[in-house]
Amino acid sequence: MDTQLKRGVLEICVLAAMRDEDAYGYKIIKDLSPFMEVSESTLYPILKRLEQSGCVTEYSVEHNGRLRKYYRITQTGHERISEFLSDWGSVMRAYNFIRGDESNDKK
């Protein structure tokens, strides 16, 4: 997949992974693994960017004698998911157009 497109989709996937409950790094990777392969070093900058853009907030909780960092989706993050879903219609139209062009070429 194109890097830019993959990055954009991944950001939304990461946001979606914490939509129902706050999540930590390993949980996000595990939850996304059936749908998308995410490496540790790919997730790290995504989380940072999401935090910088105000889509998530982070906090640490003591867990089994160590600190575990949790991420919580903000209102901006929820809006970002909604935007993505509403934009997807136009992306699909473009996708169908591209597919149609390709099949026309083959004929």
Partner: protein
């Protein structure tokens, strides 16, 4: 590979990044490994399932570079200042090194003194015990014996702890050296 080895290698690879950011990345990876192990994976498997250190480092450095989080390299002016300031910083550095070395040597001198005192007490005690045979009266002989035994006893009692302290300090020497070097490198990485 163990968790510590992985993180140590990653730390080395992430040297171009600013210290605070590097520590954050290491904490993130450390947490991921802990979570994998807590999920039931043995340490070796938890590490082997991670991406390679160089791949991880490459991505993190690329991201840090895009965000301007790389460590600043010395500018030409800094190098010129460093060269011109040599007459000032070199004697200062030398003084600090001499002071540190003196403090280290001082402890050896104290340990050496303690050892010498204990040996002197033991030898003096033995001499006093032998001296009792050459004393003129029985009462003097008993005084010599008493002093001799007390002195020799103190000598032996002091010698063992002095030897233990000397051994412990000798063992601590590489640790102290390592700490001093790390402190110096750590500061220069800021």
């Amino acid at each position: 590979m163990t968790k510590n080895e992985y993180l140590k290698m990653l730390k080395r690879e992430l040297r171009p990044i600013k210290r605070a950011e590097r520590e954050k990345s290491l904490a993130y990876f450390g947490e991921l490994i802990d979570d994998r192990m807590e999920d039931g994976l043995p340490e070796e498997t938890a590490i082997s399932e991670l991406e390679s250190v160089s791949d991880a480092a490459q991505r993190i450095i690329a991201e840090a570079s895009a965000q301007g989080l790389l460590r600043a390299k010395h500018s030409v002016w800094e190098i010129i200042l460093l060269v011109l300031g040599f007459p000032l910083w070199f004697p200062l550095l030398l003084t600090v090194a001499v002071v540190v070395f003196t403090m280290y040597a001082l402890v050896w001198i104290l340990i050496g003194t303690l050892l010498l005192v204990s040996v002197s007490l033991a030898v003096g005690g033995a001499a006093a015990v032998i001296g009792m045979f050459f004393s003129g009266s029985i009462s003097t002989a008993f005084v010599c014996l008493g002093i001799g035994l007390v002195s020799a006893g103190l000598g032996v009692a002091l010698f063992i702890p002095a030897l233990l302290i000397a051994r412990a300090y000798a063992r601590a020497t590489p640790i102290i050296l390592n700490w001093l070097i790390n402190r110096k490198v750590g500061k220069s990485n800021e």
